[in-house]
Symmetry: C2
Subunit: 310 residues, 2 copies
């Protein structure tokens, strides 16, 4: 089954203790699409500028990602430049040029409308809501992401809370969960977020893995959470896109399955972690471009053994 993703396709400049690149393909929808493409057909909705190269669009097409929904607008592509210190968990943003993204008004191509899965990457909650409505026909499961900026600004927050009502699975990190719920304890925050709309909440803990919390009775089970570990990695070159790659592996795996029960969710959590772990091994999207399903499944086994007990 296919999945539609809306979000940024962009260029990044990245510096980390392992090196630096001045300009490389990036953006949440890019990382998501590449990661999900190993599991299912992906269709992307985004906007790029005149500087966006044919080769970079080809990176997506090579992975069978449908790029019909990438609008080419006058101006320059979204550009982000950031730096990671020794603590790789947090990027310091040095420069953000919204460029064509500033007037982004996502239009879902007609031929995308039969997709049963949708992922709303981190963009303005109003645009997330628009895309959600355009997809109202067939969509079975909506995943979503957001960030501090939309959570803390009072006007954006209102829009976000509205959009959350149409999101089945929200994927955010600890700090974002605490901010949305205005709660200092992660499990209490999770319970509050689940009252805002989502039927499941995936909280990403960076190098410590991720936990999924469920609303009681949703997806065939009780309210017990499930936690997937992350692999302790000696060499993290570039953390950019780890969360979007997690979301791509997670949603992509779910979209590839016939039904959606708790066991599928659990495996999806592991596949999310696996794709995030690949993403950070090289700068930009390099590692995600050249994987095989065999490599992915081998690492899935490593993740499983990492925490498996008889």
């Amino acid at each position: 089954m296919s999945i539609v993703v809306v979000g940024s396709v962009a260029y990044d400049g990245i510096k980390s203790p392992s090196g630096q690149v001045d300009r490389c393909l990036g953006g949440a929808a890019t990382y998501f699409s590449l990661a999900a493409s190993y599991f299912t057909q992906v269709r992307v909705v985004a906007v790029v500028g005149e500087d966006f190269t044919e080769q970079d669009e080809e990176v997506l097409r090579t992975r069978q990602v449908d790029t019909t929904g990438i609008e080419h607008a006058a101006g320059k592509s979204f550009f982000w430049r950031g730096e990671y210190g020794e603590n790789l968990n947090e990027a310091r943003t040095l420069e953000t040029q919204l460029n064509v993204f500033q007037n982004f008004n996502p239009q879902v191509p007609t031929q995308y409308l039969d997709s049963e899965f949708l992922f709303l990457a981190n963009i303005d909650p109003v645009l997330q809501g628009n895309v959600r409505r355009q997809m109202n026909g067939r969509v079975k499961l909506v995943g979503g992401d957001t960030m501090n900026y939309w959570i803390t600004d009072p006007n954006h927050r209102k829009n976000l809370l509205q959009t959350l009502k149409g999101v089945d699975v929200l994927l955010i990190n600890d700090a974002e969960a605490k901010l949305i719920a205005q709660e200092s304890s992660v499990p209490r925050a999770a319970r509050k977020v689940l009252e805002m709309g989502p039927r499941a909440l995936v909280i990403k803990h960076g190098e410590y893995g991720a936990t999924v919390f469920f609303k009681e009775r949703e997806f065939g089970g009780g309210s017990h959470p499930f936690r997937a570990p992350a692999l302790p990695m000696e060499e993290v070159r570039d953390p950019t896109g780890a969360g979007d790659s997690f979301a791509g592996g997670f949603m992509g795996y779910i979209a590839s399955q016939k039904s959606l029960d708790r066991e599928v969710f659990k495996r999806a959590m592991f596949y999310g972690g696996v794709m995030g772990s690949f993403a950070v091994e090289r700068f930009g999207t390099e590692r995600l471009q050249s994987l095989t399903r065999k490599e992915i499944d081998a690492r899935y086994q490593v993740f499983r053994e990492l925490t498996h007990i008889e």
Copy 2:
């Protein structure tokens, strides 16, 4: 099989968002002993002052902990007072009175010398080394803990590195591991610490669980780490002693087993997490005083299901 623990038996004053107690039984060796007592015979070596009450010693004896090695010295018991903010991961120390602990010269009673397990809780590495030597006869496995103070001060560090050579399993947290190894990545830090002596290194991640790293070929396996999750807990009343209770559950379970292979280690990691999770549910040692093995095993199953995948 029995386990000897050396460390502090003390009084604490604790304030957290859930309440406060001005004075309650505390100390690393106390938490460790109570937690381990559900798995094996525990023998404690410590020093207390004239203010230490018969009732508090009885708390340990009720759990069949051998208190022969608790020296009663002139003066007052070690006293620590601290406060937790909304972020329960870190205590702010408001007061530390070393009192009788200042001249602590631990003596292992003769009748303890047949114990095959030893835990060196967080005290001066020189004293840890002394106790290690007194136990040289029978001891099969030595566990140990330490803290920033001993790691960063150049003189203490020298002593610590000496003591580490006689420690089989070191249990510390992320920050301590990074400090000992002078490395910013936890997995790289782990590898360095394992070159300093320990055959296994347990790194505790607070609310995210713990990871054990192994030296290649030790305890019947390769160098693959194992990660045990922690239960997402809505109500953490008092984090004091969580790490010592983890160590008690971990070492206590190991001491209760006939052999020590990787599977035993994995289960020990889960039992460590279980005992830590009980400890934080009430102030001080209250919860650890009144458990049953049935409650412990039920929570072990919850931990296992939290991360179990078919």
